[in-house]
């Protein structure tokens, strides 16, 4: 068998579209024969093609333990994503992947895990959260801090409001940026929330993903709480075209976000030039 051109997508099909917020939709994708496109590790991404518009990279938001399909949560921002926001169920797309390193699952085993997500940043975290919940016994306590501008901007509402809070030894802390009618939960930015709850760094890994500004403050907060850079894991986003470390766009120093990331520990980031 010849090795396939890594840039060559396979045809897959969107079988379900769920509108999460006015600008975010979640897409369920299978191969034409109904199978899942490929196996992946939480944190990995896939390149989705909509010819003739183009390709763009998205985190796989479904857990690898989900055997049937793969899911993506996609924000409407540019040409590919605008187009995706217009398609209907049954639409065929191209898909290739998985790309990236994924979360270092081995090192998470047996530890408490603190997930800190903001907005669409929940997309890669969700894959890992559901993975951990499906393999509950392998991990310690799970805390999920998730925030959005308003309750309407939260994604995966089913899971964050119902499923996750009910999972064993799992706590969900939701927050919105400002007061909102009908919202009785926390108000305030995610980094604030993390510091208020005052998570102990003891045997705990913090995994964070969200807008760059949120990550910046979360890192500072975690630092104050005593988390070491090795205990903090985050994912990065840079423009990329190939996903396989060739197109030369997503490097930060000698690391390629597509191949060596998008998951990095804070310790790794500290050794990289601040060009992201």
């Amino acid at each position: 068998m010849t090795v396939l051109n890594p840039l060559l997508p396979q045809v897959a099909k969107i079988v379900k579209i769920k509108a999460e917020t006015p600008t975010i939709k979640t897409y369920r994708v299978v191969m034409p024969d109904g199978s899942k496109p490929f196996e992946h590790i939480p944190g990995q991404c896939a390149m989705i093609s909509v010819p003739p518009v183009g390709e763009a990279l998205f985190s796989i938001t479904s857990s690898p333990t989900q055997e049937e399909y793969m899911e993506f949560s996609i924000v409407k921002t540019g040409s590919v994503t605008n187009f995706l926001h217009e398609v209907e169920e049954g639409f065929e797309i191209g898909i290739r992947g998985p790309y990236g390193n994924g979360f270092p699952l081995e090192s998470f085993k047996g530890k408490d895990i603190l997930f800190i997500g903001g907005g669409i940043g929940l997309a890669p975290l969700r894959s890992l959260i559901n993975y951990c919940l499906d393999k509950r016994e392998e991990f310690g306590k799970i805390d999920i801090v998730y925030g959005a501008r308003t309750p309407d901007d939260m994604i995966q509402k089913d899971e964050i409001f119902k499923i996750w809070p009910e999972a064993p030894d799992t706590e969900v802390h939701l927050t919105v940026d400002t007061e909102w009618e009908g919202w009785e939960g926390r108000v305030g930015f995610v980094p604030q929330c993390v510091e208020e709850i005052c998570f102990s760094p003891e045997n705990r890994i913090a995994v964070t993903c969200g807008p760059p500004i949120m990550i910046k403050f979360v890192l500072q907060g975690l630092d104050r709480l005593g988390f070491t850079p090795e205990q903090i894991v985050t994912t990065l986003e840079l423009r990329m075209k190939c996903g396989v470390g060739k197109c030369g766009r997503c490097n930060i120093g000698d690391k390629y976000v597509c191949k060596d990331g998008p998951v990095f520990t804070y310790a790794q980031l500290l050794n990289m030039p601040p060009e992201y």
Binding site: L7, G54, E92, K241, C242, R249
Partner: protein
Amino acid sequence: MKKINKEKLPALWERLADEAALYLPVEEDGVVNFAPWKEGAAVNLDVINTMVPPKHLVFPQSENYLRFHVEGSKLEIEPLDVDGPYVVFGARPCDVAGIAIIDKLFLDEPCDTLYKERRDNGTIISLGCNEPEETCFCTSFDLEPGFSPDADISTWDLGEYLLWEPRNEKGQALTAKLDDLLEAADSGAAQAVEKLRQDAASREAAVVREHGWEVQGVKEALEDKFDSEIWDEIYRRCLGCGVCTYLCPTCHCFDVQDYSKGQEGLRFRCWDSCMFGDFTLMAHGENPRPTQKERVRQRFMHKLLYYPSNFEVYACVGCGRCVRKCPVSIDITQVIKAAGGVE
């Protein structure tokens, strides 16, 4: 080792062109570039640096790789074949080295099969340099102007004759097909080549020495230069064009784009340049390299620090094209000097 009388070269080219698409330095409108050979083409083997390096033969400026067909919600994707066999004749050692350098990236896991297939289809016949150009500094990167270890066949210009030495199986296979045109070289040939190589190397070394271009430890020197003020000075005059990257035998960044006509279309990859403002611009408007300063820094850091970190080789072969062609004389040798990467 074989040889061929230079008068017989046209016959050789004709034969090669029968075997495969043949590219060689051709002069047209006063410019010498690698172009397909055809009867009567003004082949120019004297020029050292063709205006554009032969990189595009292994990594075309744009390359269609799949065809798609969209109808309603249905999508069909069909990979496209890579062009057939070809021969590159007369590539200079620096340019061949450039190809060997980008090989490292494209053939690294996951292997870029598109590149690999095209690369495998080609047979590269190098031509050693006898004399350096004013802007040559390949010896600074431990290359030999008179010899090209990565070519499939090496040749040298000995005035009347061209000496011919296949370097691997691919080269041997092609050589075998040209048996009637090539003659066996005499015993002195090896010595002649040896001398040519030494002369060429020492001539260039002299030039490099004179210019103060003897690169030493530039990688190490650049390791702490990300925030250095050397970039503040260099970038300011940069016009942000792509001359340096597009002419460089080792630059390999690309973009992926679709072209469509109705429901049919092609996806292609095409050269792109880290010097362009939108290269890293993201959909939501942020840009990790917002000004020309970051872009210029990326270009030199990539060549001289990141690439060697990943692939143990500098991504510069000292061909001097960027030095010669940059409209505002942004000169990699100056950058190396500024960074402290010279002896």
